[in-house]
């Protein structure tokens, strides 16, 4: 008996292999973050890495944001649809950014993937996806709220080989390099991704070498089954039935969902929804990701987010709708579509299963772009950042204040001291949103009210905020929260309010006021304890007048 035979298929060996695969995904993630050249990758962490089994089921992911966890299986499926197995060989490296060919989100997000071979057979995939700054198209940065066709959004890479059996496909690389306004960045980000895959492949092979191909594959299969076991265990605790919900959007359109829960299935039916239009559309795969995120948060947040976990989940869509865009529809602002869906699913669940999820939160990426000349250096600067906002309350807890949306995780805001130096704006205040809203037995968390004072002429502002007209919802008698918006305070005393806007001119001493919503409240305000109210008033989360009006509190 050799050393390892003692433990070939025991649970501890499986655990160690599974943890080892997670460590590989994390190492790939760190390697790519460190070597990437674009801030959106190394600061916003708009990237993800995965180890997948031969069929393209996710075994482990490394990600900075939850919205990017279940992405890469869809990409591998896209590759497997296009390439027969005998055309996938050791040393191949695939690329796709086209949602119509496994690219998932929008053209800015480039997927790179390599098959891993052992004993002559395909045993795994390593893959990553990252947001590239510019892939061509009609506007710098490639994303435009005005686009109507994918052709306007940049170069399409429809699942092709960048490397064929280790041989670089120079033609494709050359095409990539010329289809961008920022070739140095694209080149840097591309090679960072390739380097990450190479590390991943090497590490997976090290694990296989140590434990054997058969043990490795069995351990991964066991891990998938474990994920499924966790999901099914959670499903068993839910009441069977069909649950419908519909919700009006800022645009006036209505989104609809029907959720069916059986002993073995969780079916999300989105077939009855608005027709695709503009660039606010999601691919079917992107829609699945938003549904997966809600499913996992709802059922078992701590379980591994692997392929097995999502087996009980079925998503139904209608081609040609915003949740299942058809070629050549545009997808630049897919993320606000996905987060609206994620939020509606949570709301549907909150409606039918009170208490299982918190009241509504500000639920928008609140993408904010400000740019122009730096007043002190004259260099051009661009801020591209999501915003923090208020989260909903839940039974026994007030909601958290100033936190990124459910699509974000380890995303960090930019400190005022850094922003003033880097962008040359003056940050007049970083405060919690004082507007009313979100009152309840437990109150919603506060959004923010941040003021950027512009210090030069000819700066511009672009924003993509939803939940700007219809506020986050309250639960069980808790009041609704407040809305997300941007207000520009002009030097002449006038002001204007924006939610979706491109290239608004801002000049010296104009103030850009970023306001994000207060989260929804939970429970009847009348039940809030006098002690909590006294503390709210003391801490100025609540004015005495509002306390009297909503809570009947005479402090």
């Amino acid at each position: 008996m050799t050393k390892q035979d003692t433990f070939t298929h025991d649970p501890v060996t499986f655990d160690i292999i599974q943890n080892g695969v997670q460590a590989v995904a994390d190492e790939m993630f760190v390697a790519q973050v460190k070597t990437s050249m674009s801030a959106i990758i190394y600061e916003v962490l708009d990237l993800s890495t995965s180890i997948l089994d031969a069929k393209g089921q996710i075994a482990a992911s490394g990600a900075g944001i939850p919205a990017f966890i279940g992405v890469l299986d869809k990409a591998i499926h896209g590759i497997l649809q296009k390439f027969p197995l005998d055309e996938i060989r050791s040393g191949d490296l695939f690329a796709t950014n086209d949602p119509y060919y496994g690219g998932v989100s929008h053209l800015n997000d480039m997927v790179l993937a390599s098959p891993v071979f052992s004993e002559g057979r395909l045993v795994a995939w390593v893959a990553n996806i990252a947001h590239w700054n510019d892939v061509g198209g009609m506007v710098p940065g490639s994303m435009s709220s005005e686009a109507t066709e994918i052709f306007q959004e940049g170069v399409r890479i429809p699942a092709v080989k960048l490397f064929d059996r280790g041989q670089e496909n120079k033609a494709v690389l050359d095409i990539l390099y010329v289809n961008t306004r920022l070739p140095d960045y694209l080149r840097g980000d591309l090679w960072a991704g390739i380097a990450g895959l190479r590390i991943g492949e090497r590490r997976v092979l090290e694990i296989i070498e140590k434990y054997g191909t058969d043990t490795f594959e069995t351990a991964i299969a066991d891990f998938m089954d474990f994920g499924e076991t966790r999901a099914r265990a959670a499903l068993k605790t839910l009441p069977e039935g069909t649950y419908r919900f519909e919700e009006e959007q800022d645009s006036g359109q209505v989104h609809k969902v029907e959720i069916t829960i059986t002993k073995d299935d969780f079916i999300v039916d989105l077939t009855d929804n608005p027709a695709q239009a503009g660039s606010s559309n999601s691919s079917r795969e992107g829609t699945e990701i938003a549904v997966q995120l809600a499913f996992k948060s709802f059922t078992d947040p701590d379980a591994p987010g692997n392929g097995g976990f999502f087996r009980p989940l079925t998503v139904k869509t209608t081609p040609g709708t915003i949740f299942h865009v058809q070629e050549p529809g545009a997808l630049g602002y897919y993320s606000e579509v996905e987060i609206r869906l994620f939020d509606m699913l949570l709301r549907a669940l909150a409606h039918h299963f009170p208490g299982v999820v918190p009241a509504g939160n500000f639920a928008s990426i609140c993408g904010t772009v400000v740019g122009g000349p730096h007043p002190d250096t004259g260099r051009h600067y661009t801020i591209v950042e999501p915003q923090v906002g208020g989260w909903g309350a839940w039974q026994g807890n007030d909601g958290p204040s100033g936190q990124f949306s459910g699509f974000h995780g380890e995303t960090f805001n930019c400190p005022a001291e850094v922003a003033e130096a880097r962008y040359g704006l003056t940050v007049d205040q970083v405060a919690l949103n004082p507007e009313p809203g979100g009152e309840g037995q437990w109150r919603g968390g506060k959004g923010i009210d941040v003021h950027y004072r512009v210090r030069a002429e000819n700066n511009f502002l672009s924003v993509g905020y939803t939940r700007s007209r219809i506020p986050p919802w309250g639960v069980d008698g808790g009041l609704d929260g407040s809305c997300n918006y941007v207000e520009v305070l002009r030097t002449d005393g006038s002001s204007e309010r924006h939610s979706f806007a491109t290239n608004v001119e801002v000049n010296t001493d104009d103030v850009i006021r970023v306001v994000t919503g207060n989260g929804g409240g939970f429970g009847d305000p009348a039940k809030r304890s006098a002690e909590d109210l006294a503390r709210d008033i003391r801490d100025e989360y609540l004015t005495p007048e509002r306390a009297r009006e909503i809570y009947g509190h005479e402090g």
């Binding site: 433990f7 190492e27 760190v30 960090f412 970083v430 100025e540």
Partner: protein, 689 residues
């Protein structure tokens, strides 16, 4: 006048207070070492120190140098037992503390609870006045409303005032004026301003750091004063040095002013010890691992240098964003896996080890103090790795019945034999620790094969070889005195201060950099001068922090500690590209900017020189106690030779499978390993075949 130099260091840990006593006879060069342990005595930690001095039979009035490390600061923070703090900050910014950085590490948890600020909103008060990022005053400071603020603080029982104003890292004038004014209007209250602690940007981190420092200040001050009084009453006449988180020591006075710098003093001294050990044994690149009762901590040492950073956070993990403390702390990763970590089975039949620990009470099942859960220590005992007849150095009788009962329960839940359960615990604990070691090495671009693994703490030597083999390190070294290695490291420490100063400037402006460096070096000389260090005895190592324009990550580049000329700056920039490429794999054809400096100022303060141990000429066979069956978990069961660690001496070599038993720890030597004892009594284990 006697011919001996006596050094004593004490290290207050979570469970035990350790002592190392080192006496050097200057006429013969002979060194005598004594170690002792006693229980840590919260909340009066100084009592434990005085106890261990007594237990170690230390004649306090003959001691020449006394160094001290303590967990008192981290304990006050984690137990939330500190002062009531009020904050004064710039108008418009009181909510910075509550908003924080907005991140949410627990991705799928919709009911994530943000860390609660240490100061509630009504005690966060604002004041008018503004600096810009270049340090220019754009609005003068106004004391309007200050009386009202201080009246509120008094009425609410505030014990310490924290001051943090925007851009105070680059211009301290407003903070200084405000701190003076507060002290003038309210002389009894403790006041600390952010610039006294850190000169780096990022207002959330700086504000939180200042508040946490204020929070621990009164308590730490009292503790240090009591310790000083206790020693003085015992006749101690020398200087008392306090271990800091940056691997240096500092004076009692300086530490009392900003006690937050002690936050990770325990681990820091161990890692410094590992770096110093590397110098002695000629190993520049070290992975250092300290396994205690509750946690394991590791750090990477490259070319003899410990890495000191200021992005340190407490209570930060996969479930919480934690709290930043922006002080110089040795770069470390800590996991909840130690000797006392409890093994448990989840609802899905999977076994886990830690982070829950059995602590000192009830302790592992085999301590026989009522602990029902088995721990890593119990698994090591069950597998014959620890000697049941020499448990805790023979001071505790192993309760084998309790052990059997505990494993019975665990193996029932898992559906495997008790021996398999025990092997599982060891393998899972090892897997957790390997992943921690990877975080400080492979995940930062280092190849463990270029490193020597140094293991210490009570549990380090038990797991070191298995971890070293898994990582493929050069070799594993168990230092002499491994169980009290942190206290040993303290004796090797220099008086050291790390100055991190943010000042954004272009990399072609040598005059600006010269001015910044000159002022910081002068400040360091002046401050160390106050500690009695002569000007020319201050050793200065400046590092310039630079990056490509507008990037986030950068590197530190060394520069000579003299005037900065256009030429030195050009060389620095050239070196930047080289270092950047090594770290990030590419270079850019872009402008370079300087974000500030990191100046290391240090001075030796009676550092211990280690001399070789004497040899009696004994053979390894003379150290053999016997043999027994040992289960090596992944490598089967073997009959191992048992050595008495106290009888090993320089020059001895032998092969595994073997166990080395020392009163404070057990070294597990695997089959195929080769062991050699160096001139200083350290155990070197070659793991490569």
């Amino acid at each position: 006048m006697d011919n001996t130099i006596t050094r004593v260091s004490t290290d207050v840990g979570g469970t035990f207070t350790d002592l190392v006593y080192f006496e050097t006879d200057t006429s013969t060069g002979v060194q005598t070492v004594r170690t002792a342990k006693s229980d840590t005595t919260p909340p009066n930690f100084e009592q434990g120190v005085l106890n261990v001095l007594e237990r170690g039979a230390v004649d306090v009035d003959a001691v020449d140098m006394f160094t001290h490390g303590t967990t008192v600061v981290i304990n006050a923070l984690t137990e939330r037992k500190g002062a009531k703090v009020g904050l004064i900050t710039t108008k418009g910014f009181r909510d910075v503390l509550e908003i924080g950085r907005g991140n949410r590490p627990d991705f799928f948890n919709l009911m994530y609870k943000k860390p609660t600020p240490f100061v509630p909103r009504y005690l966060r008060r604002e004041i008018v006045g503004r600096m810009d990022y270049q340090g220019n005053e754009v609005m003068p400071l106004s004391f309007d409303g200050l009386d009202e603020t201080l009246d509120l603080f008094r009425a609410e029982g505030v014990e310490a005032v924290a001051i943090c104003l925007l851009h105070a890292y680059t211009n301290t004038a407003h903070e200084e004026a405000l701190a003076q004014e507060v002290a003038k209007r309210w002389p009894e209250v403790a006041v600390v301003a952010s610039h006294q602690i850190t000169r780096e940007w990022r207002e959330y981190e700086r504000t939180n750091t200042t508040i946490l420092s204020a929070f621990v200040q009164p308590k730490a001050q009292r503790y240090l004063e009591k310790l000083e009084t206790g020693l003085t009453e015992g006749g101690y006449k020398g200087r008392l040095y306090i271990m800091q988180s940056n691997c240096g020591v500092d004076s009692l006075e300086a530490t009392k002013a900003v006690p937050i710098t002690m936050v990770e003093s325990g681990p820091a001294s161990g890692f410094w010890g590992a770096a110093e050990l590397g110098r002695i044994i000629g190993e520049p690149n070290i992975l250092a691992l300290d396994i205690g009762g509750t946690t394991a901590k590791c750090s990477l040492i490259e070319k003899h240098q410990v890495k000191i950073k200021t992005d340190y956070w407490i209570e930060r993990n996969g479930k919480s964003a934690g709290y930043p403390i922006m002080v110089p702390v040795v770069d470390l990763v800590e996991i909840g896996n130690g000797g006392g970590s409890i093994a448990w089975v989840d609802d899905f039949g999977k076994m886990h080890v830690g982070p829950q620990s059995a602590g000192a009470s009830p302790g592992p099942a085999s301590y026989g103090r009522g602990g029902e859960n088995v721990t890593t220590t119990d698994a090591n005992l069950a597998l014959g790795r620890i000697n049941k007849d020499y448990f805790c150095g023979g001071t505790v009788e192993a309760d084998m019945a309790a052990l059997e009962k505990g494993f019975g329960k665990l193996s029932d839940e898992l559906g495997v034999s008790p021996a398999e359960a025990a092997r599982g615990i060891v393998r899972i604990a090892n897997s957790n620790m390997v992943n921690a070691l990877k975080l400080v090495s492979v995940n930062r671009g280092y190849d463990p094969r270029d490193f020597t693994l140094v293991v210490f703490g009570g549990g380090g030597p038990m797991h070191g070889v298995a971890l070293g083999q898994e990582l493929g390190v050069k070799k594993v070294v168990v230092p002499r005195g491994a169980p009290v290695f942190s206290a040993w490291g303290m004796m090797m420490s220099d008086l050291r201060r790390d100055y991190f100063v943010t000042k954004l400037q272009d990399a072609d402006d040598h005059e600006a950099l010269d001015s910044l460096l000159h002022h910081t070096m002068e400040l360091a000389r002046e401050e160390l001068g106050r500690e009695g260090v002569a000007r020319d005895a201050v050793h200065l190592s400046p590092l310039i922090r630079c990056r490509y324009q507008n990037q986030e990550f950068g590197v530190e580049v060394p520069i000579p500690a003299g005037p900065v000329t256009a030429d030195t700056l050009r060389k620095m920039v050239a070196e930047f590209h080289v270092r950047y490429k090594r770290e990030y794999t590419y270079t850019l054809d872009a402008a370079v900017e300087i974000t500030g400096i990191h100046l290391i100022a240090s001075s030796e303060v009676g550092k211990l020189e280690i001399v070789p141990l004497p040899k009696s000429g004994a053979a390894p066979a003379d150290a053999i106690k016997g043999e027994r069956e040992v289960d090596y978990a992944t490598e089967g069961t073997h009959v191992a030779t048992i050595y008495n660690g106290e009888k090993l001496e320089p020059g001895m070599t032998f092969a595994g499978p073997a166990i080395i038993e020392d009163p404070g720890t057990t070294v597990v030597v695997h089959p195929g390993n080769t062991v050699s004892i160096d001139d200083f009594g350290n155990i070197h284990i070659e793991t490569r075949s």
